[in-house]
C-alpha cells in the first residue's frame, strides 16, 4: 500500500463509485446518491489522513453518535454489499476465499466478503467494531468472527426482541431503557477509548441535521404512495444507503431535500416513472443487489413498478432533541425502527403487520419475495406472510429463491423467467 492508497476493498469501492459517477446507470442510482457515496468513501481517506479513528458498524445501526464524536463510521455492509450492488460482482472473489477457508456457504453474503477480504489482506482494519446484534443470526456470528480476526476493541449491543410502543401486542416497558442504556454505555466506552468526551452540543446539532434529512425522507415516502409512482423503484433504496452512511451530516440534508423536491415535482405534474403503470408491486425483501437494473426491466417489459421495498421503508421518527436524555431515547427508537431491523428483529408479526400496512398504503397489486437463500428467518415466515397478504390485502405473492448478492447460484435469466411467469398470470 503506497502513499494515499487504502485497503484494496475500499479502493475498489471508490473506483467503482468514481466509474459510476461518470457512467451513470439510468434509473438505478441517482447522480445525487453516487455523489454522496463517493464523498462518503473518500472521507475514509480524509479521516485517516487526520489520524482520526475508524469505527466499523452494521447496517442496522445509525451513525449520528460517531459523527458527533468525530470518528469515521465505516458501514461494513456498504463494503460487502456495495461491491455487489453495482452489478460488477466485485464481491464474488471474496466470497469464494471465505468459503474455501471454511466459512459455511449458508452464511449471508452481506457479511462474508469482509472475511474473504481479510484473509486476502484487502480488508480495512477498523479501530473499533460496534454493532447492534440485529437482524439475524448470520450477522451476529459473522461479526463475532470479525472480532476474532481483527482483534480490535469491540462493543456489541444486544437488541431487545420486544416492542417499545405501548400500543403493540408485544410491548414491554423494559425494551427502550434496555437499549438506551446500552447506547449510553457505548458512548462511555468510546470516551475511554478515545480519551475525550462526547460533546453533547455537537450531538444535538448532528441529530438535528439527521432529523431534517429524515423529515424530508418521510415526506418523500408519502409522495411515493402517489399513483402513478413518481420515481424509479430503486430510489427509496438510494435514500437508505445515503442515510445509513451519512445521517447527521449536512450532505445528507442536502440530498434528502433534493430527493423530496424531485418527488414533489413529479407528483405535482402527475408524472409517472413509466408512461403506463400496469402493476404496482411491493417488494417483501431487499432487492436483488447483483442485478440493480432488474426493476427497470420489470417496468419496461410489464409496466410493473416496485413502489416500496424493505430497505427503502425508512420511516423512523425525527428525534426529540430537547435534552441529551431524550436524544438517546430517540436514537434507541431509531435503531429499533430502522429498515429491516423493524421487521426482522422480533416475532413474525413485526414483519407481517408492517407489510400489510405497506401494501395497503402503497396500493399494491401484488407482492414479491426475492428469497435470499441465506435468510433463514424471513424464509421461516414467508408462508405466513403470503397467507396474510392474500387474506387481509387480497393480493398474490411471488416467491423465488435467489442469492441477492451472488449472481451465480440463481442467475438473472432464471429470475426473469419467474417474474415473467408471475406477471403474465396476474395481469
Amino acid at each position: 500500500m503506497g502513499e494515499g492508497k487504502g485497503p484494496a476493498m475500499i479502493e475498489t469501492l471508490r473506483t467503482i463509485f468514481s466509474f459510476v459517477k461518470d457512467n451513470p446507470i439510468p434509473k438505478v442510482y441517482h447522480k445525487e446518491t453516487i455523489d454522496c457515496l463517493f464523498a462518503y468513501v473518500n472521507n475514509y481517506f480524509n479521516y485517516k489522513k487526520q489520524d482520526k479513528k475508524v469505527v466499523m458498524y452494521n447496517f442496522c445501526f445509525t451513525p449520528e453518535i460517531f459523527y458527533a464524536m468525530d470518528i469515521y463510521p465505516l458501514c461494513q455492509e456498504a463494503l460487502s454489499v456495495g461491491l455487489a450492488a453495482t452489478g460488477l460482482a466485485m464481491n464474488e472473489p471474496y466470497i469464494d476465499v471465505a468459503e474455501e477457508s471454511g466459512i459455511p456457504k449458508e452464511l449471508c453474503n452481506a457479511q462474508k466478503p469482509l472475511i474473504g477480504a481479510y484473509l486476502k489482506g484487502d480488508a480495512p482494519k477498523p479501530d473499533y467494531i460496534i454493532y447492534a446484534a440485529q437482524p439475524c443470526d448470520s450477522l451476529n456470528i459473522e461479526y463475532q468472527i470479525y472480532e476474532n480476526l481483527f482483534k480490535v476493541p469491540s462493543f456489541p449491543i444486544d437488541v431487545p426482541y420486544w416492542h417499545y410502543d405501548p400500543q403493540s401486542e408485544f410491548y414491554n416497558e423494559k425494551t427502550l431503557p434496555y437499549l438506551k442504556n446500552q447506547l449510553e454505555n457505548m458512548v462511555e466506552w468510546l470516551e475511554k477509548q478515545l480519551g475525550y468526551q462526547l460533546d453533547t452540543e455537537k450531538l444535538k446539532k448532528v441529530v438535528e441535521m439527521s432529523n431534517e434529512a429524515q423529515e424530508n425522507i418521510l415526506e418523500f415516502n408519502e409522495l411515493m404512495k402517489s399513483i402513478p409512482c413518481p420515481l424509479p423503484s430503486l430510489t427509496p433504496f438510494n435514500n437508505y444507503i445515503v442515510e445509513l452512511t451519512t445521517a447527521g451530516t449536512p450532505e445528507c440534508v442536502e440530498y434528502a431535500k433534493k430527493m423530496r423536491n424531485q418527488a414533489a415535482e413529479k407528483v405535482k405534474r402527475k408524472e409517472g416513472v413509466i408512461p403506463e403503470e400496469k402493476i404496482r408491486a411491493v417488494w417483501l425483501y431487499t432487492h436483488v443487489f447483483f442485478s440493480p437494473d432488474l426493476f427497470n426491466w420489470m417496468a419496461e417489459k410489464f409496466g410493473a413498478v416496485v413502489v416500496m421495498d424493505m430497505l427503502g421503508y425508512f420511516i423512523t421518527k425525527p428525534i426529540n432533541t430537547s435534552n441529551t436524555d431524550k436524544i438517546f431515547e430517540g436514537l434507541a427508537e431509531k435503531v429499533l425502527d430502522m429498515p429491516m431491523a423493524r421487521q426482522c428483529r422480533g416475532p413474525a408479526e413485526y414483519y407481517i403487520d408492517d407489510y400489510i400496512k405497506m401494501c395497503k398504503e402503497y396500493s399494491a397489486d401484488c407482492a414479491i419475495f426475492s428469497g435470499h437463500m441465506a435468510c433463514k428467518h424471513s424464509w421461516g415466515l414467508i408462508k405466513l406472510l403470503a397467507e396474510s397478504l392474500r387474506e387481509e390485502v387480497g393480493i398474490p405473492t411471488l416467491t423465488f429463491e435467489v442469492d441477492t448478492m451472488d449472481s451465480r447460484p440463481v442467475p438473472r435469466g432464471v429470475i426473469e423467467a419467474r417474474l415473467e411467469q408471475f406477471f403474465t398470470t396476474i395481469i
Partner: protein
C-alpha cells in the same frame, strides 16, 4: 445395567412411563433451548420436558409452513406437532435462541393448537444490565404460569426446585467425570442417552435413577478397546445414534460441549440470595452457546480445558445444515485448534440421521490420521 438400559429406552422415545404417570396428576410443558429456566416451571409442579423430534421420519407437513432453508431440527419438531405426536404437552415455552427456533414458535403459535404458549426474550450478551433484563423476563414467565395454571409459585418452591436441579446437575457431572479415566465405564453413546433422557424425566425420580446408575457402574468393566479419545461439539444433537456411528468406527467419545451434553448440567444455580436473580445469572452465564455474543473465547477455553482434563486426542465438530451460529463457530474453532495442533474434523449433518457412509469415511480417515501421528 438395568438403570442404564431404562434411560437409554427413554432417550429413544418422545414420551415415557414417567411422563405418562405425571400426566395423570399434573401438567407438562415442552421447552425449546436450555436457556429456559426449568426450575420456575418445576416449582409450579409442572414438568418441563425438552422438545425433541425423536422418531421423525420426514417433514412434509412442516414444509408447508417452514422452508427448506430452516434447520431440520425445527422442521422436525413442527412436523411432530402437526402430526399430533406431543399429546402429553399442555403448552410450550420458547425463546429467541436463534432464527429457526423463533420462527418455529411463530408458526406453532398459529398452526398448532397448544393451549399455553410463552416466549422468553433471552439476552445475547452477559453483563449486569442483561442479567437484570433476564430477571424481568423470568418474572414475566412466572406470572404467566401462575395466571394460566392458577397456581402460586412461592419462593420456597423455587428453592426446592433449584436444590433438586442442582443435585441432578452434580450427579450428571459425576457421571461425566468418569469419562476422564483411561478406560471409561460409560461410553459417549450411553452418556448422551442419559443426558437426553434427563430432559424427559422428573428430576426427583431422575436423582434416584442417577444414583442407581452410578452404583451399577462401579463394578462395570471400562471401555478400553478404542482407537482415539474424542470430543464432540457443535449444533443441537440429541440423537445417541450419531455418537454411536462415531464410536462404531472406533473413536470413543469421552467429552462434549453440547447442549444435550455437558452444557446442560455444568453450572449450578447459587443456593442463597434471590432465587430469580440466581436463575437469571446461571441461565445466562452458563457455558455459552454460540448465540452468546462476545463469548467465543469462553467457549474456546472451555473446550481447551476439557481437552486437557479428559485427554482428548481429536475434536469432531458437527454442524447442522443452516445452523449459522455453530457454522461460524466452526470456522473459528478450526483455525484455533489447528494452531494448537489439535486434530479437527468438521461434519455437516441433518437432524434425521443420514449420509452415514460419507460420515463414516471421514471419521475413519480422521482416526487413522490421529493414530499415524502417535507413531
Amino acid at each position: 445395567m438395568k438403570t442404564l438400559q431404562s434411560l437409554i429406552n427413554v432417550s429413544r422415545t418422545l414420551s415415557n412411563s414417567w411422563i405418562d404417570s405425571w400426566k395423570t396428576k399434573g401438567y407438562i410443558l415442552g421447552y425449546f433451548c436450555t436457556h429456559v429456566p426449568e426450575e420456575v416451571i418445576y416449582a409450579a409442579d409442572i414438568l418441563p420436558v425438552r422438545i425433541r423430534a425423536t422418531g421423525c421420519k420426514e417433514t412434509s407437513l412442516a414444509d408447508a409452513f417452514l422452508s427448506s432453508f430452516n434447520c431440520s431440527f425445527v422442521r422436525c419438531t413442527l412436523e411432530m406437532a402437526l402430526e399430533k405426536q406431543y399429546p402429553f404437552l399442555d403448552g410450550i415455552i420458547s425463546c429467541n435462541s436463534c432464527d429457526h427456533i423463533r420462527r418455529v414458535y411463530d408458526v406453532w403459535k398459529q398452526k398448532v393448537g397448544t393451549p399455553f404458549k410463552h416466549f422468553l426474550q433471552v439476552p445475547r450478551i452477559i453483563n449486569d444490565e442483561a442479567i437484570e433484563a433476564f430477571v424481568h423476563e423470568i418474572t414475566l414467565l412466572k406470572a404467566s404460569l401462575e395466571k394460566h395454571f392458577n397456581i402460586d409459585i412461592s419462593e420456597e418452591k423455587l428453592w426446592e426446585a433449584i436444590k433438586i436441579y442442582n443435585d441432578v446437575r452434580g450427579l450428571l457431572k459425576e457421571l461425566y467425570n468418569i469419562r476422564k479415566e483411561g478406560s471409561p465405564k460409560i461410553s459417549g453413546t450411553e452418556f448422551m442417552s442419559v443426558v437426553t433422557a434427563s430432559t424427559a424425566v422428573p428430576k426427583h425420580q431422575l436423582k434416584m435413577l442417577l444414583n442407581q446408575l452410578l452404583n451399577e457402574l462401579v463394578d462395570r468393566e471400562g471401555y478400553s478397546n478404542y482407537r482415539a479419545r474424542l470430543l464432540v461439539m457443535g449444533s443441537l444433537l440429541d440423537d445417541p445414534h450419531y455418537i454411536e456411528m462415531i464410536e462404531n468406527m472406533g473413536g470413543l467419545v469421552v467429552a462434549d460441549a453440547l447442549c444435550f451434553g455437558s452444557r446442560y448440567f455444568w453450572d449450578p444455580v447459587k443456593e442463597s440470595g434471590d432465587p430469580i436473580n440466581n436463575l437469571a445469572e446461571r441461565y445466562l452465564k452458563k457455558v455459552p452457546c454460540a448465540r452468546m455474543i462476545g463469548e467465543h473465547d469462553t467457549r474456546l477455553q472451555y473446550v481447551l480445558d476439557t481437552i486437557k482434563e479428559f485427554d482428548v486426542e481429536g475434536v469432531i465438530f458437527q454442524r447442522m445444515k443452516f445452523c449459522d451460529f455453530w457454522g461460524g463457530e466452526c470456522f473459528m474453532f478450526r483455525r484455533e485448534l489447528k494452531e494448537r495442533g489439535i486434530p479437527f474434523l468438521e461434519l455437516e449433518r441433518e437432524y434425521i440421521l443420514s449420509g452415514v457412509e460419507a460420515a463414516k469415511t471421514r471419521i475413519q480417515a480422521f482416526l487413522e490420521s490421529i493414530e499415524a501421528r502417535r507413531l
